[in-house]
Symmetry: C2
Subunit: 240 residues, 2 copies
DNA sequence: CGCTTCTTTGAGTGCACTCAAATTGAGTGG
DNA sequence: CCACTCAATTTGAGTGCACTCAAAGAAGCG
């Protein structure tokens, strides 16, 4: 699944558990471990100067997080009860001294976070509330391997989703109700839903926060047509 | 200045130049070099699915960028004419096989990007237009080593700033005019300004997108003990 | 069963948006 | 050097979306 995971098996590690809402590590804390999620959901977040929380991402089984040195950039908290595999950062770094591939994988892991939050920023900056919600729900369904009409569980609260998408819970609630009345969505109890018409929403996922996904050719074409400045810039490119 | 810079001197490198608005590297391109800015200004950016450009950061002399493998996450374009030092990624990776410290520095470099864009996201999601502009101008002044009343040059266009802050050029222009009439700002020609009252704006810079800055002590202390949910209600709103 | 937290719904408002057009400035070629 | 062109910026008018404030209902948890 993840190449990094194989490398990590060579490092000192053991299983750890956290209950929902426990802090796994905190911002600015010394970084001494890398984690891999066995079961459950984890969120990465920061607290802004104004005291507001910005959730940077939700992680699920198989995801690796905490590749960071020497201090934590974000906090990590358990959304649900979680089982994690904890790898000593010290021994991971020792391993990387012997393996160029592992070094590349570590950089890649750090870059993935950057990639995700960069596209996240682009979405928050330019998408309407409805688009953001649809993007999130579609991403979530995709992460859980669910297709059209299949039930997707929503392990986090609306407030979590709001702090992820930079929306208030009120707005979120209203958007969900409207999506439901428009037949884009059907809700199955409190913490579950199903997407009825993911067709156009799915396109959003093709590029963006997917793991290291390169922008698709179609996206590039569109962006070149829509943004003449960019087109011009690409054309005048010279090597030297 | 930057520890990474010293390590890089051991790698194969040479000087390169780009003219303003030339592409240094593009999204999804194979990554084969790390750069250090000698003079000028560079922007990192992505093009969203909708064709909109999101600028993730502006870089200046001394900054290192392009630590990325195996493919580029962002594009890098010259804002002004720039002189860069170009380091072969291949030889950097070879060096890192022999130096644990270099590996840590590479991870740190990748994490810095993540840190910056994470706080950027928090700002775009929760700040008003005026706050964002003030934050940006204060950051820019700080980067150029300019204090209150000193002239700061603005090497990029308002459109660039808008694509960075997720604001339209129109809004940006209006905000600048209001800041000027409120005596927070005085403009010195097209591409220059001076901040008159940076006092409260500077507080924003103390944490946030500054290199690896740790959150303020008060926030940190509390968030280590309690989980973050309890912090959310402590919202201190900055007055315009 | 009482408490807290989460969610929903309503009413009203303000900020940043879009659309449109004028003006300024920079760059280019005659 | 000057006219010309195009991009960048400014200004105005109007609007809609997501916000705040407020309060009621629903769900989890002891």
């Amino acid at each position: 699944m993840n190449d990094l995971a194989e490398f990590l098996e060579g490092a000192r590690h053991w299983r750890v558990r956290y209950h929902a809402r426990q802090v796994i590590f905190d911002e600015a804390e010394p970084s001494n471990a890398v984690f891999r999620i066995e079961t459950g959901c984890v969120r990465l977040q920061i607290i802004g100067e104004s005291g507001r929380r910005q959730i940077l991402g939700f992680l699920f089984a198989g995801d690796i997080f905490g590749v960071c040195a020497p201090e934590r950039i974000t906090a990590a908290e358990a959304v649900t009860d979680v089982e994690l595999m904890r790898y000593s950062l010290e021994s991971v770094l020792q391993l990387s001294s012997k393996s160029r591939e592992l070094t590349v994988e570590l950089i890649r892991a750090a870059n993935r976070l950057f990639n995700d939050v960069a596209h996240h920023l682009e979405h928050v900056g330019h998408m309407s509330a409805t688009e953001r919600v649809l993007w999130f729900l579609t991403w979530l369904a995709h992460r859980q391997g669910r297709g059209t009409g299949e039930t997707v569980s929503l392990p986090m609260t609306l407030r979590d989703v709001g702090d992820f998408l930079a929306l208030t819970p009120e707005t979120l609630s209203r958007v969900l109700r409207e999506l439901e009345s428009d037949r884009h969505l059907s809700r199955r109890g409190r913490g579950a839903f199903a997407i009825r018409q993911p067709s156009f929403a799915l396109r959003m996922l093709e590029s963006g926060s997917e793991p290291m996904a390169s922008p698709t050719a179609s996206v590039k074409t569109v962006s070149q047509n829509k943004n003449s400045e960019e087109l011009i810039h690409r054309q005048v490119r010279l090597d030297r």
